[in-house]
Amino acid sequence: MRVSVDGKNCCGHARCWTVAKEFYGVDDIGYSIHRGKTVDVPPELEKAARLGARACPDRAITIIED
């Protein structure tokens, strides 16, 4: 599984990190460290990745199932 964070629409709500710190991170100003990127998800963190994606008010996170 991979996760893609929209570079334009990630606007720093930091909800992904708040509900799923084990997978999501935010930078010094509260924007996703994966902003504008697509990253791999380790199998044990798939549930966390999905939870964080659901938490985004801007729907900036897309889950890409393999």
């Binding site: 990190w17 509900v19 008010p57």
Partner: protein
């Protein structure tokens, strides 16, 4: 998520008039006192049957309610611009608030330098200050067995948190400033300008005074330093003052409303209150649900830069559109059991802090404030209820707020 919201037939104009006193689909007015009384009913009716309502107030505007539409409009700043102001029927000549009433790249230039001062990491430094303020205010009334939450707590704390920690104004000026913002927001409309003007004058003077002092590395210094605009010019003095005013007015009354609503909810729902008292770690997620369920911003505006169709309505270039964030957070298409306040939700995506580039810059501070206040409150006053014989008093316009909440313990 099944869309069972349009399964029933849309009401007729006669039915709307009977129920709401007006045709809320084609003749909406958020200043109508009936809206204050029937707030959630109106939002739900729009969500079910009227994705784009029309208001004829002044030169008129569209009112968009559904989560998908609101989110797309908030993100599509190229089509839905903030540069003509966040309010419809703007008085001619009124200076624009920066950066709120601007678009990228100018908006981005300001947000880039301002964001660090309100980041999750930065605001975490204010936890103790906010906790101390909470206890100082509670100390004043805890022996009385009750309080009027708004005047004795809710309208004071957000101002203290902001003015002390973010702006660093002298303590002795706090009371006047908090009062000025309160009156500037809630006095009778014809009196508000006077109070706003006083706060504006204070802030401009404060900026001038701070410019003479050594820098502290805070938001005020950042504003003083300014930014370079897309045309190469430096942000003028007037814009710097405007930014300070914008940030000041954004986060005080709004935070008061969510805080007061949470207290009211806990007063009326002892199971939730007792659960949160016993499980303080659950407060952060509860705060998210309180923010969703009790939105202080009812709707906020944009201006169409081109002809565009939204949910079947053809809008023209120059049309004013309002994003009903209060409704979009209750859209059953986006939130399960949207009308229920459920503090145990696993995720709570909502639009109380907006969406897109104008996402509320103070959202991290607001969340922290509300969480700390509620956690500390429950340590001191774990059981409380609404004073018998009283009811909460609300006012509603483009902002919704509570003006009176009597509680007892």
């Amino acid at each position: 998520m099944t869309d069972n919201t349009t399964a029933d037939k849309a009401p007729s104009v006669e039915e709307l008039k009977a129920r709401f006193g007006r045709d809320i689909f084609n003749d909406f007015d958020y200043d109508d006192p009936r809206f204050n009384e029937q707030f959630t009913d109106v939002l739900e009716e729009h969500l079910a049957h009227c994705p784009v309502a029309r208001s004829n107030v002044g030169t008129g505007f569209w009112w968009v309610s559904r989560n998908d539409d609101v989110r797309r409009l908030a993100q599509d700043w190229e089509t839905f611009s903030s540069a003509k102001g966040y309010m419809p029927n703007r008085p001619e000549g009124l200076p624009f608030l920066y950066p709120e009433e601007s678009d990228p790249p100018r908006h981005t230039a300001w947000r880039t330098v301002l964001n660090p001062h309100l980041s999750p990491v930065t605001v975490a430094n204010y936890e103790k200050s906010i906790a101390d303020d909470t206890h100082e205010l509670i100390d004043r009334f805890i022996g009385n067995g009750g309080c009027e939450f708004i005047t004795e707590f809710g309208s004071i704390l957000p101002g203290w948190a902001f003015f002390k920690n973010i702006l660093g104004v002298p303590i002795e000026d706090l009371a006047m400033l908090v009062d000025g913002v309160e009156m500037g927001t809630f006095a009778p409309p014809e009196e508000r300008q006077v109070h706003m003007g006083k706060v504006f004058a204070y802030l401009e003077n404060y900026l001038k005074e701070r410019a003479k002092l050594p820098p502290r590395g805070d938001m005020v210094d950042t504003i003083l330093k300014g930014v370079k605009y897309e045309d190469g010019s430096e942000a003028p003095w007037e814009h710097k003052v405007s930014v300070l005013v914008d940030i000041t007015f954004g986060g005080i009354a709004t935070t008061t409303y969510v805080m007061a609503s949470a207290i009211k909810h806990m007063a009326e729902n002892p199971a939730d209150r007792d659960f949160l008292a016993a499980n303080p770690d659950a407060m952060a997620q509860a705060v998210e649900e309180f923010a969703r369920a009790y939105p202080p911003i009812v709707g906020i505006g944009r201006s169409c830069t081109r002809d565009v169709e939204v949910a079947g309505t053809k809008m023209k270039e120059g049309d004013y559109v309002m994003l009903a964030y209060s409704a979009s957070s209750r859209d059953p298409r986006a939130v399960e059991n949207a009308t229920t306040v459920n503090i145990h939700r696993e995720t709570v995506p909502h639009n109380t802090f907006g969406a897109g580039p104008h996402r509320c810059i103070g959202s991290n501070l607001a969340r922290l404030e509300i969480r700390i206040v509620l956690q500390e409150w429950l340590k001191r006053i774990p059981k409380f209820s609404i004073k018998p014989g009283t009811e909460a008093v609300y006012i509603t316009g483009f902002l919704r707020s509570m003006r009176q909440l009597d509680i007892v313990w």
